[in-house]
């Protein structure tokens, strides 16, 4: 029991993922800054940002629903913490950990941060926040479809394995799925879905700063905003790891470069695109991305 609690809170769950996530956040900010001819922050900047936010006053909108307003950041945070614990443990020791169907559980848990954001935004009773929440909802509907379809590709290719550790072991024997045609297509689609899940440009319509002033987060301040930020940074670690686990033979501390490559791809997409409108995003995911996902599934069934 104590061991699981340690796994959940310290390593490799909450604390460890937050530290790695904040470092990744620094890499993101630094690379972005260098691309944009700026100097960029020192490595500890994301940490002191969080510390500073934590000690700030929390203002609660009078018209809002207070319970939900306080609760929703925690819902998102706990869901991501659970996912990160699962994914890390499976990757550190593929032989023993995990349970049958953990892939499905993770997919459900990964939608919770977005739902938490929506709940919190709706609870804050701000027109801009509700606009952001409605955009977030459309975005979730848009990217979940190709995301789930692509998820079936590794399952089909591994002949119906639903346990993450089994998928890693299968890839260790038969080569990574990303090396096959269907695998690489699904992987690319997944990267776009991940960009949307992370709420980064070009899919950041729900918190568009210049349109609706951070939208969903507009009423959040202090510790609660810090929790949302932490959730985002944890996702920035967990989602790429989940992808690597599914398609790229899993992850250990020697293969840090896999994570760095995905991180750089995320940063490049974010810095070479303007924000798309929400209807364009929905069309993109339900059109091109879903078609590519279906193509990947068909190819996987055919054995490519």
């Amino acid at each position: 029991m104590l061991k699981y609690l340690f796994n959940f809170i310290v390593f490799p769950g909450f604390l460890f993922t937050v530290i790695v996530g904040l470092l990744a956040c620094w890499i993101d900010r630094k690379v972005t800054a260098r691309i944009q001819w700026r100097a960029g922050p020192p490595w500890y900047q994301p940490f002191i940002d969080i510390v500073k936010l934590s000690i700030k006053e929390i203002t609660v909108p009078r018209a809002g629903s207070k319970g939900l307003f306080f609760l929703s950041p925690l819902i998102g945070l706990s869901a991501v913490t659970l996912v990160s614990t699962l994914v890390w443990l499976v990757n550190i020791d593929p032989a023993s950990k995990g349970f049958s169907g953990d892939v499905i559980v993770i997919v459900y848990l990964l939608t919770l941060p977005a739902i938490a954001v929506m709940l919190g935004a709706s609870a804050s009773a701000n027109p801009l926040a509700s606009l952001g929440a409605s955009r977030e909802m459309k975005m979730v509907l848009a990217y979940e479809l190709p995301f789930v379809i692509c998820l079936t590709v590794p399952i089909i290719k591994s002949h119906g394995l639903l346990r993450l550790s089994d998928i890693i072991n299968y890839q260790a024997v038969n080569g990574s799925f990303a090396a096959s045609l269907s695998g690489i297509i699904a992987f690319i689609v997944m990267i776009f879905c991940m960009q949307a899940k992370l709420g980064l440009v070009p899919f950041d319509a729900s918190e568009a700063e210049t349109e609706i002033m951070a939208g969903t987060y507009i009423e959040y301040s202090g510790m609660l905003l810090a929790i949302f930020k932490i959730t985002k940074t944890m996702l920035m670690v967990t989602l790429p790891l989940f992808l690597i686990t599914l398609f790229w033979q899993g992850f250990n501390f020697l293969s840090l470069w896999k994570y760095v490559i995905i991180l750089v791809v995320i940063i490049l997409i974010r810095n070479t695109n303007p924000r798309v409108r929400i209807d364009q995003a929905v069309r993109f995911f339900w059109g091109k991305m879903t078609l590519m996902a279906i193509l990947a599934v068909l190819l996987a069934v055919k054995g490519f």
Binding site: T32, I35, Q36, W37, R38, P127, L128, L131, S134, V201, P202, D204, A205, A208, E209, T210, E211, I212, M213, N271, T272, N273, P274, R275, V276, R277, I278, D279, Q280
Partner: protein
């Protein structure tokens, strides 16, 4: 979802200046817009009446930070018109060069901001980086990156030095490949095209009805440009062409501004090549009674200054009409029917400059009723002009 009001302003990350657009939205669609200005009214016209003619040039320079030479340019044109004499030839060329350099940096600034509003911060930073060399030129020739203080009734305040010309020309020529890059980035990027093409279309008729000026009008195919239609300074002595686009959308406005960058570089280089030797100041001693109108094609469109002198040391009446005053109102036509995401870039696409545009409304604060409407103010203004005439 029912109808809601989405406020853009008075303090909003979209624009650094205080402005207030009330978007009435139905879901994501904008069904109506209220444009409320007047948060930064500074009584510039009134202040002008208490300054002498030389000081006014400095004062109007501070109306706008971005197009800081446009107002003095129009002002000195008005003084020239009042006097009926032209400034020395060399001064005219220097004025033209300064005006065009300003257009380059202003358009680059807009390009960056447009990128920022679309969430494309890389374009923002890159455009502003490539704007730096232009500001360096200003720093070399005028000592300031903004507010150059070059314009002066009857001439210019500072000479340009011949030994600087090769460096200026080289800096500008080096800018051309960078603008080529932006041109490619805007015209070939599918996502930018998706966000800007067909968005916020202003037809030719709309432009006429709203008296839209500058690049906003030229992007809708209205072929107007004060530099060509009513030549002043040295614009009739250099080779250049007016850039237009038929689209009328945000994309067209971006294209027109990018094409104008090439023309401006071209004009500055020609001015430096053709600049004659001679005095830069005609040494005006006093301003006789009379009226003068000065026009200048600012980066945002035509700016008009009207000067009425009564033989004294300062203008008896100074009337300013900035281009944004005409352009901002056209948002009413362009924004309605679009989504909120597009509304922000459409509002920004006219390159608004609110400080130039501020007007005053007299409101009874207890009832919230307007004490005076536009007609009342026009009547007041006419009465005052009449009083001045009879003085």
């Amino acid at each position: 979802m029912g109808r809601k009001i989405i406020p853009i302003g008075p303090y909003h990350p979209l624009q650094d200046e205080p402005e207030f657009f009330k978007l009435h939205v139905d879901g994501e669609t904008v069904v109506d817009i209220d444009i409320e200005l007047g948060y930064n009214h500074r009584l510039v016209e009134k202040i002008a009446e208490s300054k002498n003619f030389d000081q006014v040039a400095f004062m109007v320079e501070r109306i706008c930070g971005i197009c800081s030479t446009s107002h003095p340019f129009a002002y000195v044109n008005a003084i020239d018109d009042l006097l009926g004499v032209k400034a020395p030839e060399r001064a005219l060329y220097i004025r033209t060069a300064i005006g065009e350099l300003e257009r380059i940096h202003s358009h680059l600034l807009w390009l960056g901001l447009a990128g920022h509003f679309l969430g494309y911060n890389t374009v923002w930073m890159w455009a502003w980086r490539y704007r730096e060399p232009v500001l360096d030129i200003f720093e070399r020739v005028a000592g300031n990156r903004q507010n150059y203080g070059m314009m002066k009734p009857g001439g210019v305040r500072r000479d340009l030095y011949e030994e600087d010309f090769p460096w200026i020309k080289k800096t500008l020529r080096d800018l051309i490949p960078k603008i080529d890059m932006f041109k490619g980035a805007v015209m070939d990027d599918p996502v930018i095209r998706a966000r800007t093409e067909g968005v916020g279309v202003l037809t030719k008729e709309d432009c006429r009805e709203y008296c839209v000026v500058g690049p906003t009008a030229r992007a809708s195919g209205v072929n107007i440009d004060i530099r060509r239609d009513d030549p002043y300074a040295a614009y009739d002595k250099v080779e250049w062409k007016v850039c237009t686009h038929e689209g009328g959308d945000v994309f067209g406005k971006a294209v027109v501004r990018i094409l104008e960058l090439y023309e401006s570089i071209n004009i500055v280089i020609q001015c430096l090549d053709k600049m004659p030797k001679g005095p830069i100041d005609s040494g005006i001693k006093d301003i006789p009674p009379g009226e003068g109108i000065g026009r200048h094609e600012a980066p945002r469109g035509e700016v008009v200054h009207y000067i009425m002198a009564d033989g004294g040391n300062s203008p008896a009446r100074h009337k300013i009409r900035a281009p944004s005053f005409m352009n901002v109102a056209s948002n009413k036509k362009a924004v309605i029917g679009e989504t909120i995401s597009d509304a922000t870039i459409i509002l920004a696409a006219v390159d608004p400059c609110y400080c130039c545009t501020e007007r005053m409304t007299v409101v009874d604060y207890k009832t919230g009723k307007k004490m005076m409407d536009g007609q009342d103010l026009i009547r007041l203004s006419r009465e005052k002009t009449e009083r001045l005439r009879n003085r």
